[in-house]
């Protein structure tokens, strides 16, 4: 008959529940450290040493809050973020937001291929070979449907990013200096610095990840009563993101900044791993960058195409055939092709493109956040699960700061 629960069974049960719920937070955390992330954090460390590390702390807090809101919205309503926006914001607003999301999606995918091109250049493979081949392989992998297995493989490989942790520690960072720079945040009011700050926030809290997080919790069929497990998953994912970001910045600061080396190509960034890998630094870095780029290149354009199609009422999903969801497949393919073509332009400034796509993320973020705030505070949609006041305060402050920074960044050059 049905067994009586014992306390031992309880522990096993909780662990089992945790592993079943695991996923959305950790995966989004890993995808966060994509080519865009690695590049942005590396450049931050190389150009400004330890001065930008303090930005990670507010980014961490805001990231957890935003992901919690998305998870809560997904579980309570059972609807994706694009559905909610479409149903409540009207078509015109939806159109503007999702066109923005599409551009940011193309920008991010371009970044991933920049990562592919840059990392393969370390192995002396021309980008004209590496990018098209990778693009085609990714397309086949996704369209033929085996990407879930690929996802798992990539997740395992992304553990290789821990190389940065070891390398940073071996590079003998100045902990005192790091401490001071966190305690006394350094702020410069020029366009370049502001762009860097927005870029760091944009790459840590990428807008498309919010849509992804909300869909993931729905797909996993999570419930509010197990929410504490979901929170643990989210927090672990955020910690992973921020820890890797921290060590990338420190590693680059200790090796590149002290020598005044700027990062113009991926090869330069590889030098940051010299303390750990010695003469193999370049290869090790390139490998890590390549894996991270391909992983994100499979997920990102797919997610973008999916959410844009959902918002406009087109069928979407790789479980559907071509003729069942033509707009979705067309959009997905178009994003891949456009991104590859941009990278293949002769002498395309890969690093610059990468950085600016993350800045674009940071500028689109407040728009998505405003939508989320209006949805999550609506009693008709969320019932008793509307935001607690503290969440509202923190998020509105974040939105305000981001908008101010963006405006300043755009306006500053006009005054210099």
């Amino acid at each position: 008959m049905l067994a009586i629960k014992s306390s031992r069974k309880n522990i096993f049960r909780n662990v089992a529940i945790f592993f079943a719920i695991l996923g959305p937070g950790i995966i989004t955390g890993s995808v966060d450290n994509d080519a865009g992330g690695i590049t942005t954090y590396s450049v931050a460390g190389a150009l400004y040493g330890y001065k930008l590390i303090w930005t990670l702390i507010p980014a961490f807090i805001v990231l957890i809050i935003i992901q919690e809101m998305n998870a809560r919205m997904g579980i309570v309503t059972g609807k994706g973020l694009s559905d909610l926006i479409r149903e409540n914001a009207g078509v015109k607003v939806t159109f503007v937001i999702f066109v923005g999301l599409l551009f940011s999606g193309i920008g991010n995918t371009t970044t991933e291929f920049a990562g592919v091109a840059g990392s393969m250049e370390v192995f002396n493979v021309s980008k004209y070979i590496s990018v098209p081949i990778t693009g085609i392989l990714v397309w086949i992998l996704v369209v033929k449907g085996t990407y879930k297995i690929a996802e798992r493989i990539f997740l395992i490989f992304s553990v290789s990013l821990l190389m940065y942790v070891v390398s940073a520690l071996m590079g003998k960072p100045h902990w005192g200096e790091i401490g001071t720079s966190i305690a006394h945040p350094h702020m410069e009011y020029n366009s370049a610095y502001l762009a860097m700050v927005i870029g760091i926030i944009g790459t840590t809290i990428a807008p498309w990840m919010q849509f992804y997080m909300q869909s993931s919790v729905i797909e996993k069929g999570l419930k509010m009563k197990d929410f504490k497990f979901t929170m643990i998953d989210i927090v672990i994912g955020c910690i992973a993101t921020v820890v890797v970001a921290f060590f990338i910045i420190v590693a680059c600061a200790s090796t590149l900044n002290v020598k005044g080396i700027q990062i113009n190509e991926a090869k330069d960034a590889a030098l940051a791993l010299k303390p750990l890998a010695g003469f193999l630094a370049s290869q090790a870095f390139a490998f890590g960058l390549f894996i991270a780029s391909v992983f994100s290149a499979t997920i990102l354009p797919l997610a973008t195409a999916f959410y844009v199609c959902e918002a406009f009422g087109f069928e979407a999903g790789i479980d559907k055939k071509w003729d069942e969801a033509p707009e979705f497949y067309f959009l997905y393919t178009a994003i891949l092709i456009v991104s590859c073509v941009i990278i293949l332009i002769p002498n395309a400034p890969l690093i610059k493109i990468t950085l600016w796509s993350q800045v674009l993320n940071g500028m689109l973020l407040p728009v998505v956040l405003v939508c989320m705030m209006l949805l999550i505070n609506n009693k008709k949609i969320m019932g008793v699960y509307v935001n607690k006041p503290i969440y509202n305060i923190i998020t509105w402050i974040t939105i305000f700061i981001l908008v101010v920074l963006s405006v300043l960044m755009i306006v500053m050059p006009l005054f210099s």
């Binding site: 049905l2 309503t77 059972g78 078509v91 015109k92 069929g221 009422g313 008709k380």
Partner: protein
């Protein structure tokens, strides 16, 4: 001369409404249509009538009777006038559907396409009798129109002789299901959804948000609810059963084949499952409890305990009488089993052999003694081969002493083959 005006909902929302004496009444916020819940419209082409209009003026919302309203188009601009502003009370409009809040931009069921589509606009027609909702616009052209770029884009593409696809679905062929907002309470019975196959309805319910799902499911009668629940993904099944009141959930589970009910109960938390079993009729819950004891890969775990069994002295006529009285589900009829007084399986009989025989023939004459059967603790893997080799639609399952316990139907075997049997 009758004036007919056709218009889109999006073009009139937000318009200023004036009384015939020029007094400003407010901006049009929504239109409310009747829902025809009393069934008198079934069979006739159904165009719901607009019953009232919601106006906003200085932040105050009023609901006015639409009978006194006129919609007219003057030089490609719409205008709405009101002869006599009679306020409609909340009780009167309790049953009405709001076009903007419940239909526009929401998902509705396309009955012919058997899936959910999103409404981009609503087409209405205004005649002397009143104003009626005719169709919903779910096409790309409607989307572009809402964004406001439809006319220039249409012109641009017409230069290349390309038409922007537009898709309209008549009101008869759709059903509004999205009641995701917390304060909507409607008593609709979703009659039109009865034309959908349970499997299609299951897909649709799974795609809806949490509230619409619960609302829609609770409006199905128990038989239909059981059929639909059977076809849903395990996670959705658990979700629905957990959110239903215990007595209703027990009723639905009783109407399902025992093995399906057992599968669902297996996925629930133990105390909830126990509550449900206690609430169910003892005969059914006994069956289910027995089935719960089987392990996952054993034949018994997908066995159906509903079957038809007769003695070999019974006649074809008697069997048909019993079938007509019991009205069993279709899979129970694939094969009929012949047992002796102690319940041991002797032979089986296919529906074909039954139907081609004369009514007075005894079963002993037409039954197949060389029947194939499996034991309840046999492994599942062997089943697919057996079914294929002997061209069977169902296989009887016997216990250690050859007593008939149940049968496995081909549908469940195929599901298992396709790997849809959920793993914990």
């Amino acid at each position: 001369m009758t004036a007919i005006t056709t218009f889109y909902l999006s073009r009139v929302l937000g318009l200023k409404v004036y009384a015939t004496d020029g007094k400003y009444l407010g901006k049009l916020n929504d239109l409310l249509i009747e829902t025809g819940a009393d069934g008198q419209f079934v069979g006739e082409p159904y165009r719901p009538k607009v019953m009232s209009a919601r106006l906003i003026k200085n932040g105050n919302i009023t609901c006015l009777d639409f009978k006194q309203f006129t919609v007219s188009k003057i030089k490609s601009r719409y205008s709405i006038t009101c002869k006599d502003s009679r306020v409609v009370s909340d009780e009167e409009s309790f049953d009405f559907l709001l076009l903007k809040a419940n239909i526009l931009d929401k998902q509705i069921v396309d009955l012919n396409g058997r899936k959910l589509v999103r409404v981009n606009d609503v087409r209405l027609v205004s005649v002397t009798d009143g104003t009626f909702a005719v169709a919903v616009d779910v096409g790309t052209e409607g989307l572009l129109r809402r964004i406001g770029i439809s006319r220039p884009l249409k012109y641009f593409f017409s230069l290349f002789n390309i038409a922007i696809p537009s898709k309209f679905i008549l009101w008869d062929d759709v059903e509004a299901v999205d009641y995701s907002n917390f304060n909507i309470k409607l008593g609709t019975t979703f009659k039109k959804l009865n034309t959908l196959h349970p499997s299609d309805l299951a897909d649709i319910i799974e795609e809806l948000g949490t509230h619409s799902r619960a609302h829609l499911f609770s409006n199905l009668d128990e038989e239909r609810a059981a059929d639909v629940l059977e076809e849903m993904e395990p996670k959705s099944q658990v979700d629905i059963i957990e959110n239903m009141p215990i007595d209703k959930a027990a009723d639905v589970l009783e109407k399902m084949p025992a093995n399906e009910a057992a599968d669902i109960l297996d996925m629930l938390e133990d105390d909830r499952a126990e509550l449900l079993l206690a609430e169910m009729e003892s005969e059914t819950s006994e069956d289910v409890r027995e089935l719960l004891e089987y392990e996952d890969r054993e034949v018994g775990s997908i066995m159906n305990t509903d079957f038809l069994a007769f003695a070999e002295t019974d006649t074809v006529e008697k069997v048909l009488e019993v079938i007509r009285a019991e009205k069993p589900e279709v899979e129970v009829l694939y094969n009929i089993f012949i047992i002796n007084d102690t319940g041991k399986l002797n032979a089986s009989l296919s529906l074909r052999d039954l139907v081609i025989s004369e009514p007075s023939v005894k079963l002993s004459a037409i039954m197949n003694k060389k029947h194939i059967s499996v034991h309840d603790e046999d492994r599942l893997d062997s089943l697919a081969e057996i079914v294929s080799k002997y061209n069977l639609l169902s296989v009887p399952v016997v216990g250690k002493d050859n007593e008939l316990l149940g049968m496995v139907v081909i549908d469940d075997i195929v599901e298992d083959l396709m790997g849809r049997r959920r793993t914990k």
